[in-house]
Each structure stands twice: as structure tokens, then as C-alpha cells.
């Protein structure tokens, strides 16, 4: 079956591992991912600032395109894209002013031919019809964990893995309505479904440092260190993320973390889709492990499952 998939810019540039592993994993689950034609950057955080209605045009243009292509669902893996698309969509549904003005921008942009200045095509307002789902949400609700268990061909044999939610996936709860932000379990349930043992640790929803990586690198180093340390202290052999920025702060920054905090000896950082893809039998070479600063390949040891999971 076909499913609209919004990769977002980072997945096409710095973090292709997340993109590749997502595609490979979903292919194994009989889902063909289709990108909406002409998708653009979601706008990162900017569309969500209260006063800039024009910023919403970017995510809404993409969502409208999904609708025009006959899609009613779009999935994304990047936490930031997920947050922006879902909240922009909700803003269009709830706020008549934003609905009116964003559609006005889009109407002019889509209808008016830049050369002739004439209105060319039909335009129907976008009213928030497309449902924005995170891939974890899609796996939980649409594919279902039983089906994933059925398809698994490789066994992690209870590898202790920490699920890291970060800031964007769950909050604000009223808008994301994804999982309970103070005691979430969707990510853990996913890890258990693919044969890992989910490690419970208190820092799973704390900030990784986010964009402070640019302006105050030391603060990001400290924030990521606290998360990694807590996961490791509770027995994790790896930490999984959904967000390219979390990945950057925890993986690419890990040398700096080790230099600043001598008690920390390193922890591989994985995308959840890499775990899923490998468990479903995707070749290790297709997981994009070359992008990792902290070597992670050893975690994917080629041992076929001895027992058939049900």
C-alpha cells in the first residue's frame, strides 16, 4: 500500500540514515512511502511563533499537496517536522483568521501564473483534512505491534535500549495528543515489540540542548550528557532517538561530552527506524551506520532468530 511520507530537509542532507532506514523498514512491512510532490521545508520552529501567519504557508502547502494527491494521512519521522506539521494543521482547524490568511497566500501563490499574472488553476481551501502521524504512531495504531512481531526475522535478544523522547514528540499534550507526556510508553512498547528490552530512566523527556548547539554549545553538551549518563546508569547499551537534532547533539557531540565529563565512556545513538529495519531483515549496509560518530555497528550482530516469534 502507498503512504504519504514527509521526510523533511535534514533527512535529505545530514541524516540520510533516518530516511534510508525508514524506507527500507516500511518496504518490509509492505508500505510504499510516497513523498508529496514539491514538498518544502516545514519551516522548523518558525511557523509556530504566534504572530507570523505567513510562516504557516510552508507546512500547510505541503499538507494541502498531500490532500490534492488523494492522501488523508502523512507520516513523518523527524520530531521537529512532526511537531510543526501537526500543530500547523491544528492551527488551521482551530483559528479562523489563520485559516483565512494562509489559504489566501496559498491561493495567490498556486493560482497566479508568475508570467501572465493570471489565475490559472482551481483552488479549494485547505481545512486541515490531512491527518499528521509520527511513524511511531502509525506503527502503533495502523500497522500494529502484532504484525511487526510476525515479520521480525532477526532477534535483538533483549538488548537493553533506552527510548529517548526529547521535547517535541509529546508536548504540548493537548495538541500532540500522542502519549501521556509525563509517563509515556509508546516508544518503549515499540522497542519491546522489535525484541529489545526498554530501559526505564528518568531523563527520557528531558531536553538534549536543541539549538543551543549553535549558540551555547557547552549548554547542549551538558544537557546531552545528563540524558546519556542517566540512560547508561540504568543499564542501556544504546539510546534511540526519533529526531535528527537529538541525534546530532548526542552522537556528533559525544567526543565533546567525553572530553568535558570524564566519567562518561560513550553510548551508541540509534534511530528507531534502524532498529526496526534490522529486526525486519534489512541489510546492515542499508542502515546508514556510516553517519554515526559513535560506532554502533556492533549492536547489529548477524544472528538469525533461533525461535519464531508469534
Amino acid at each position: 500500500m502507498k503512504l504519504h511520507y514527509y521526510p523533511g530537509c535534514t533527512l535529505k542532507q545530514k541524516t540520510t540514515a533516518l530516511d534510508i532506514s525508514t524506507r527500507e523498514a516500511m518496504r518490509r512491512l509492505d508500505v510504499e512511502l510516497v513523498e508529496p510532490e514539491g514538498w518544502t521545508c516545514c519551516g522548523a520552529e518558525y511557523p509556530l511563533t504566534e504572530e507570523k501567519i505567513v510562516g504557516l504557508a510552508a507546512p500547510i502547502r505541503t499538507l494541502r499537496q498531500v490532500r490534492e494527491e488523494g492522501g488523508d494521512v502523512v507520516v513523518t519521522t523527524c520530531s521537529f517536522c512532526y511537531s510543526v506539521l501537526k500543530r500547523a494543521n491544528k492551527a488551521i482547524q482551530d483559528d479562523p483568521l489563520k485559516h483565512k490568511r494562509v489559504n489566501a497566500y496559498l491561493r495567490d501563490d498556486i493560482q497566479i501564473d508568475p508570467l501572465t499574472k493570471e489565475r490559472t488553476t482551481d483552488f479549494a481551501d485547505y481545512n486541515g483534512e490531512v491527518k499528521v502521524l509520527h511513524l511511531l504512531e502509525y506503527l502503533r495504531d495502523t500497522v500494529g505491534y502484532p504484525k511487526i512481531r510476525e515479520r521480525i526475522t532477526r532477534d535483538f535478544r533483549g538488548l537493553p535500549v533506552a527510548a529517548y523522547y526529547g521535547c517535541r514528540l509529546l508536548r504540548p499534550q493537548k495538541e500532540m495528543a500522542f502519549d501521556e507526556p509525563d509517563s509515556p510508553h509508546v516508544f518503549e512498547d515499540f522497542l519491546e515489540a522489535v525484541g529489545c528490552a526498554a530501559v526505564d530512566y528518568p531523563f527520557k523527556q528531558e531536553c538534549c540542548g536543541s539549538y543551543l548547539s549553535v549558540s551555547l554549545p557547552d549548554a547542549a553538551t551538558e544537557a546531552s550528557y545528563r540524558v546519556l549518563r542517566s540512560a547508561k546508569m540504568n543499564g542501556a547499551k544504546a539510546i534511540t532517538v526519533t529526531c535528527p537534532l537529538c541525534f546530532y547533539n548526542m552522537d556528533h557531540r559525544q567526543e565533546a561530552i567525553k572530553a568535558a565529563y570524564l566519567d562518561f565512556s560513550g553510548l551508541p545513538v540509534l534511530f528507531f527506524t534502524q532498529i526496526l529495519a534490522w529486526a525486519l531483515g534489512v541489510d546492515k549496509e542499508l542502515l546508514g551506520l556510516g553517519e554515526h560518530t559513535v560506532p554502533a555497528a556492533a549492536l547489529f550482530s548477524e544472528r538469525p532468530s533461533t525461535e519464531v516469534r508469534s
Partner: protein, 660 residues
């Protein structure tokens, strides 16, 4: 009571009295003009104005004029009828006029208070008064409906409020039936260690009351019973009460405790908030009343001598009977005091505090048990996970209270004080321990409350940090508490051995079905609603029901006891009456017009209307009818006509008002 049609045609002699209400009305409405214009209006015999109609001279003027001018209909143009209708009805009665011939034309709330243009407001006042003239011309003499009172009360709930209410009513000389669903009376208060602000032992002050109630000749104590249904109306309720089988004959049980020793089933102990264990056959606590063992069938191996039967074998008194069955007790009562208590908000709802995950994060009631001499640790402060004496405890206030965004918007009222008490008691028992309280602001508004709180701060060196806690998690052996100190604006990280959460007080979960069956009004949080927030604080909107204790909202012990006594006094008021008077402005059914469609039955909020299946018409219990008029508005055939508010009267009012 319905007068023949011809009587209506006789022209009435109507008197109009227009009130100035000081300047409340007269500053916006030209009251003299109103009286003047209406003087010649058809049907009006007499018309005047006066500065305060409700004053003694004002009332006297009405009485004198009725007698002098032989008036048989009165209109007082003044404030809302909710304020002085009774006053003027009484005046009419004194003058020998039927009180239901009084009409109140509201020209204050509905006119002078909401308008500024004198000319238009005066015009409106004239229209309002004219409409009431039209209505008054058709008003009939009505007699109040009278009904007998059963002078016995039912008290639901055996906590401190129920006990106090039961005892007071019994002391007034009336019989009381006290129903408690648990095996023993005592409620939440019996679980508390000490009480603020005096630090006297809760059990020591409550157990004498419990004994007194159980021995009172006029109190019938029904523990391990639940109210099944209530029917009837104020003064005449019929109550069905379900007796749950205890499987132990309380008259035979001599508390030897042999059964408990042999019982193989171990169950978390509710009395100790699950911090210790009991057997399936148990006594909730040593001073339980009635003093008897109770067999908890849910956890018993099966009430079957083949499967276990150990307790029955060792019982010398032959008190244990596996064949006991549920029975229904029926009682008739005149008033019902609802004292069903509260619950604590579940710690699960505040996932960030880890109350569900970490054994050493406890709620206030659990900490009461830890402090209590009769508790699981014998009164020593030891933490649940490993029994160590905690060297530091963080107390978090407002857990789920005062949070409009996610939890309860209201203040749970008692937490500031019991947290001060907890911290103080902990410092007394563990002198080298550190007590830290996170608070939003300390609300110590009660007699000797602020002094008590200051004692905790100054004498017992409890550290108060103003700010909320964002997260509690475990690192190694310690709990880490993240919070903010809003006085310095800094984030705070505190290590603690134990955390006590002052969870919000919420509606009691176990009684919601019962409250639905009672059809008793509740507020948006599920607490019982009082009839008037200031002037009728212990009565329910539903006649005959009275409120006591935390079922009505969070409150401390002194306030609970005061409210229970007040409810009992109100029950006394009711029982002191020879017969109950009910407003006659009810909505009867005209049998000839009624088609038995039953629409009015579905409209009636008081269950006053039922279908007579034989005659195919609706019959009305006039005692239950509150005269709201919902049925009259809904009735498609005009068979339901409210007395002195008939369709004819309403149309006449409209005509009078709309005619220029």
C-alpha cells in the same frame, strides 16, 4: 381547587403598590408616574407609591388598604419575587386575603438596575405592571399542600461527619439509621495520626464518639451496608438498604482472633493504605466498631469447607457462616444526611512525580499511617522500600490542586496545614532529619493555624521553598526532586530519601453510583451542591437532603463537625414541624385533555409525574412537584397547566405588555 370558569369573569378589585426602593428604583423609573398611569387601568381599584414597601409602614399600608378598599388582588411593583414575595404574602394573609393573590412585578432587577434612560425605563415599568394586572385578574385562591413527616433520619456515611450528624439528630430525640459501607465506622479520620493545630491523637478523639454512637439508644448502626435505592420525597422517603454478608455473626464473635491466625490468604491492608497486609478474615483496626471479624469474600479461597474452611474449624463460638446471603432492609425516613466523604486524587495522574513507580513517594494519607502509632511501622518513620529511617523528606503541596490546566482548579484547603503537621511530626521523630516543603503559598486561615505553621518554620526548622516541583526521579538510593524557588528565581535540585505528595481531595469514587441514584445535585467536580452558597450551606437543592463533610468539598475536621451539626439542626427544623407545607403552585393534569403521551414525564426533573396505565393519563405527585413548569411548556394538549401560571394568564400578560 380549580375555580369554575365563571368565577374568573367577575371583575377583581386590584390594588397596586409601587416601591421606590430608596433610589434603587426611583432614580431610573418615575414611580409616581407608574402609579398615576395605572390608576385608571381596567381592573385597578387603587394605586399608590411608597419609598420602602418592604418596611413595616409599607406593609401596614398594604394591610390597611386591603381591608379598607376590599381589595382581592395585589400587585407590588418592586424587587425580584425571590426576595420579598414571602413578605407580602404574609402581609396579605394578615389582611385576610389569600396569599396567592399577591403578584410581584419586578421593576428593579429587570428594569431600573439594567437601564439608564428614565423615560424608556418608566415605559417599561408600566408595561411590566400592566402585564401583572392581566395575570392578577385571573389568579385564584390557593391553599398550601400539607403532608406528614416521618421523624426518623438516615445518615449515609460513618466518618466523623456522619457520626456527628447521627449523634446530634439522635440527641434531638429522633431516631437515626446510620449506614456505613465498610466493616467499621470511623472513616478517614480514624486513619489519621495526629490532628492540626493541636497535635492531639486522631484515634483518641474519635473513638469515644464512635463508641457513643454505637451505644446510643436511638441510633441504629448498619455497618457493611449500602444504600440501594431511595424513593419518595421530603418527610416521606422509603429507603432500601443492602446488607452485605459479613460471614461472621457479630453477636457471636468474641474477637479471639484464632480465625485470622489460620487464614492462608494475605491481602493488602486498606486501613494502612496498602503499606501492610491483613488476612482475608480480619478486623480493620483494633478499635473497630462493631467489634467483630469480617470475612472478605473477594479474597477468601471460596467460602467452601472443601477448599479451605480453616477459619470455620477453629471458631469455638461457631460464629462463621459461609452461607450468609445478601439481604435487603427497608426503612422509612423523613430526612437524609449525605456524608459520603472524599478520596485522594490518584498519584498516577501526576506521572512526573513517580508516585506509581517509586515506593518511597507516598501520598498524605499513607504518611499519616507511617506516623501513626497503630500504623505499619508502629509510629516510627521508616520508608516503605527498605524500612530505613529517611534522613530527608521532601513534602510537595498542591499535587493536583490549584492547577487549572491539567488537574483540579480548586484548593484542597487542608494540605497546607497537614503538611506543616507532617513536617513537624517528622522532625520530632527524626530530630536529625531534614524536612523540606515545596509550596505555592501557605494558606493557614483558621483558628490557631498560622501560629501552627510558624511553629513548624521557626521551632522545628522546616525548610519552606516557594515553588512547584517539576519532576521526581530515582538515582541510586536517592530520590531527586527538581523544582524551582520562585523567590530567588533559581532551579532547585534536592536529594531526598522519601517524598510525600499532598494529593488533591476529590469526590469519593465508590459512592458516585449512589449519588446518581439519590439524584442529588453535584457541582462540576462531583462534590455535593448546596442549595445556596452562603445562606443555605448545609441543605441540598433536593428537599429533604442535607450535606455534611467532605462529600460537599474539601474541609478540615472542625469545619466538618460544624457542618454535620448544622445539618443535624436543619433535620431538627424539619422534624419539629407538625406537617410539611408545600407550595401549591404545582402543575396538575386535566384528565379530559391529557392524551397520556408522556412527554411531561420525560421533562420532569423531579420524577413527580407518572402514567396511570389504567386510565391512560398522567398523574402528578403534588408533593414532588416543584412548580418549575417544564411540563406545562412541553404539554402539547394544554392538559398541564401550572396553578396561577396558566397558558391563559401568560397570553394575557403578553397581550397587556405588547399593547401600546
Amino acid at each position: 381547587m380549580t375555580a369554575p370558569l365563571s368565577a374568573k369573569n367577575k371583575e377583581k378589585r386590584i390594588g397596586l403598590f409601587v416601591c421606590h426602593c430608596g433610589v434603587n428604583i426611583s432614580s431610573v423609573v418615575d414611580v409616581e408616574k407608574v402609579a398615576q398611569v395605572l390608576k385608571d387601568y381596567p381592573g385597578v381599584t387603587f394605586s399608590t407609591d411608597y419609598v420602602y414597601m418592604c418596611s413595616d409602614p409599607g406593609q401596614q399600608m398594604i394591610i390597611d388598604t386591603i381591608k379598607e378598599k376590599h381589595l382581592d388582588g395585589i400587585i407590588v411593583a418592586a424587587c425580584s419575587p425571590t426576595l420579598h414575595e414571602k413578605t407580602f404574602q404574609e402581609a396579605a394573609r394578615l389582611a385576610g386575603l389569600n396569599p396567592y393573590q399577591i403578584e410581584i412585578a419586578n421593576i428593579r432587577e429587570q428594569d431600573s438596575w439594567v437601564h439608564t434612560d428614565k423615560e424608556k425605563a418608566t415605559k417599561k415599568a408600566i408595561k411590566i405592571v400592566k402585564s401583572h394586572v392581566a395575570k392578577a385578574r385571573q389568579n385564584e385562591n390557593l391553599d398550601p399542600i400539607k403532608v406528614d413527616v416521618t421523624r426518623r433520619a438516615l445518615v449515609i456515611g460513618g466518618g466523623v461527619s456522619g457520626l456527628q450528624a447521627a449523634m446530634d439528630i439522635a440527641d434531638h430525640g429522633y431516631e437515626v439509621i446510620l449506614v456505613e459501607k465498610n466493616p467499621s465506622i470511623g472513616g478517614k479520620m480514624i486513619q489519621l495520626s495526629e490532628t492540626f493545630p493541636t497535635l492531639d491523637c486522631s484515634q483518641c478523639i474519635l473513638t469515644p464518639k464512635m463508641v457513643e454512637v454505637s451505644r446510643h439508644p436511638r441510633i441504629k448502626l448498619l455497618t457493611y451496608h449500602e444504600v440501594e435505592s431511595v424513593s419518595g420525597f421530603v418527610g416521606n422517603f422509603k429507603v432500601r438498604i443492602r446488607k452485605k454478608p459479613r460471614y461472621v455473626d457479630e453477636t457471636l464473635c468474641n474477637l479471639c482472633g484464632e480465625c485470622e491466625k489460620v487464614c492462608p490468604q494475605i491481602v493488602p491492608d486498606e486501613f494502612n493504605q496498602g503499606l501492610s497486609f491483613r488476612k482475608a478474615i480480619y478486623m480493620p483496626f483494633p478499635q473497630a466498631i462493631p467489634g467483630t471479624f469480617t470475612l472478605d469474600a473477594e479474597h477468601c479461597l471460596g467460602l467452601n469447607p472443601v477448599r479451605c474452611g480453616k477459619c470455620k474449624d477453629v471458631c469455638d463460638k461457631k460464629a462463621i457462616d459461609y452461607d450468609m446471603k445478601e439481604t435487603i432492609v427497608e426503612e422509612e425516613v423523613g430526612a437524609i444526611v449525605v456524608a459520603t466523604g472524599f478520596d485522594l486524587y490518584t498519584m498516577q495522574a501526576l506521572g512526573e512525580y513517580g508516585g506509581e513507580k517509586y515506593l518511597d513517594v507516598v501520598n498524605g494519607l499513607e504518611f499519616e499511617r507511617i506516623l501513626s502509632a497503630s500504623g505499619p511501622t508502629g509510629g516510627e518513620v521508616r520508608r516503605p522500600s527498605d524500612g530505613k529511617v529517611p534522613k530527608s523528606i521532601v513534602f510537595v503541596q498542591c499535587c493536583g490542586s490549584r492547577d487549572t490546566e491539567k488537574h483540579m482548579p480548586y484548593c484542597s484547603k487542608i494540605c497546607c496545614m497537614y503538611t506543616a503537621k507532617h513536617a513537624m511530626m517528622y522532625r520530632h521523630k527524626v530530630p536529625d532529619g531534614q524536612a523540606i516543603v515545596f509550596y505555592i503559598d501557605v494558606r493557614a486561615g483558621g483558628k490557631s493555624f498560622d501560629e501552627f505553621y510558624m511553629r513548624a518554620v521557626e521551632e522545628d526548622k522546616v525548610l519552606y521553598i516557594r515553588g512547584k516541583v517539576s519532576k521526581i526521579f530515582k538515582e541510586g538510593d536517592k530520590l531527586i526532586v527538581w523544582g524551582v524557588d520562585t523567590l530567588t528565581g533559581k532551579k532547585v535540585e534536592v536529594e531526598a530519601d522519601m517524598v510525600v505528595l499532598a494529593m488533591a481531595m476529590v469526590k469519593a469514587d465508590g459512592v458516585q453510583d449512589l449519588l446518581k441514584k439519590l439524584k442529588i445535585a453535584t457541582d462540576i467536580h462531583g462534590f455535593l451542591a448546596e442549595a445556596h452558597p452562603k445562606l443555605r450551606p448545609v441543605e441540598s437543592l433536593n428537599a429533604g437532603f442535607y450535606l455534611a463533610g467532605c462529600a460537599h468539598g474539601p474541609k478540615d475536621i472542625p469545619e466538618t463537625v460544624a457542618q454535620a451539626s448544622a445539618a443535624a439542626a436543619k433535620v431538627g427544623d424539619l422534624f419539629a414541624q407538625k406537617e410539611l407545607i408545600h407550595e401549591p403552585t404545582v402543575v396538575p393534569v386535566n384528565d379530559e385533555l391529557c392524551s397520556g403521551c408522556g412527554i411531561c414525564i420525560t421533562m420532569c426533573p423531579y420524577s413527580a409525574r407518572t402514567l396511570d396505565p389504567e386510565r391512560g393519563v398522567v398523574v402528578v405527585n403534588e408533593i414532588l412537584c416543584e412548580g418549575c413548569g417544564a411540563c406545562a411548556a412541553a404539554c402539547p394538549s394544554g392538559a398541564a397547566q401550572q396553578r396561577n401560571q396558566t397558558d391563559n394568564q401568560i397570553f394575557s400578560m403578553l397581550r397587556a405588555m405588547l399593547r401600546e
